[in-house]
Amino acid sequence: MSFVNYVTKEVNCKIVYYGPGLGGKTTNIQYVYQKTSGDSKGNIISLNTENERTLFFDFLPLDLGEIRGFKTRFHLYTVPGQVFYEASRKLILRGVDGIIFVADSQVERMESNIESLKSLERNLIDQGYDIEKVPLVMQWNKRDLPNITSVKDLHEALNKWNVPEFEAVAIKGSGVFDTLKTISKLVLMNLKGGLE
């Protein structure tokens, strides 16, 4: 649930990167962190296991600057992708304003993508959200690898809502900001609250 502070004229929004394990969610926000100038970013917080897998969440606060007199602050979260962290994913989705679903383009990961998307739908319903009403953007990651599913097949299997989708190579930064910019726009346009 976004938060508009009319006293300080600030908008806070929560964006969650969701997707299967090792799909590149953490890589996305690490790239955003690397490429963001000092004043705009806070510390990146990663609650990891010993082998660098996300245990609870990664968190990156981003100050985007002003839009129509409101300072905009985005809180980027990633969920742990591994199947057995379902409870953590559910918690992190609380209060979400927008979701980036990071799919792994490799052919052998299609099953995991589908499973993860089903878990997203289920967890959103549990939190009282309708996936069709939550801003959502798809990212087809790892497009530089050899054995990948075509964009058309990814679209057919994972994007039945026809939401915006981007090809990406998160490790090199390709597509990372396009995806983030699009979800940010959708989230900002979805903010309720006419001025009193």
Partner: protein, 178 residues
């Protein structure tokens, strides 16, 4: 009487007017929403961690503990949970504040304290006072709105920004280094 856009104003008024115990004022405390957004902070910690990060961690640790507590078979809630992570002299203490359907957390981070029980009690008192104050303000605000609704048709469901152009988004993302 749900999410109210005046909450930040009430928070500011409360903390401006309440007399914070001198001892408590030496430490850091944060009032956050259930999703980790910081509403008020008295931050005396090192600058290495931003208030947003602290809010996210306080919110996360509470949510995780609350989910674990759901496994306790005995469903008796004579008193609400508090969360403590401490040694005999330093630690973190979180107290929830439920007002109507909204939940907030007051988190304290303290150190070098000879009497942690005393400051924990002060935090609990502050949480109770804040909860009562906010409940009252929201009730009044709700009643006022009901009266206004009776007399005027309003468009409170309007979108804050409506359409946003690509160039506005480009300006927002100008911070990104190429």
């Amino acid at each position: 009487m749900s999410a109210n856009k005046n909450i930040p104003k009430y928070v500011e008024t409360f903390f401006k007017s309440c007399e914070i115990d001198e001892k408590l004022n030496r430490y850091s405390f944060f009032l956050i929403r259930h999703d980790g957004v910081v509403l008020y902070h008295n931050n005396n910690l090192a600058d290495s961690l931003s208030k947003s990060s602290i809010g996210a961690l306080l919110g996360g640790v509470w949510q995780a503990a609350r989910a674990l507590a759901d496994f306790i078979p005995k469903k008796e809630f004579k008193e609400g949970y508090r969360l403590s992570f401490d040694t005999s002299a330093q630690g973190i203490y979180i107290v929830p504040i439920t007002v109507s359907t909204e939940e907030f957390y007051l988190g304290l981070i303290y150190h070098d304290e000879v009497n942690p029980g005393f400051i924990k009690n002060k935090i609990r008192e502050m949480a109770t006072s804040f909860g009562e104050y906010l409940e009252q303000e929201l009730k009044e605000s709700f009643e006022k709105k009901q009266t206004q609704k009776d007399t005027t048709a309003n468009g409170k469901n309007d979108f804050l920004f409506g359409d946003i152009t690509d160039s506005e988004m480009d300006r927002l993302f100008a911070f990104a280094k190429s």
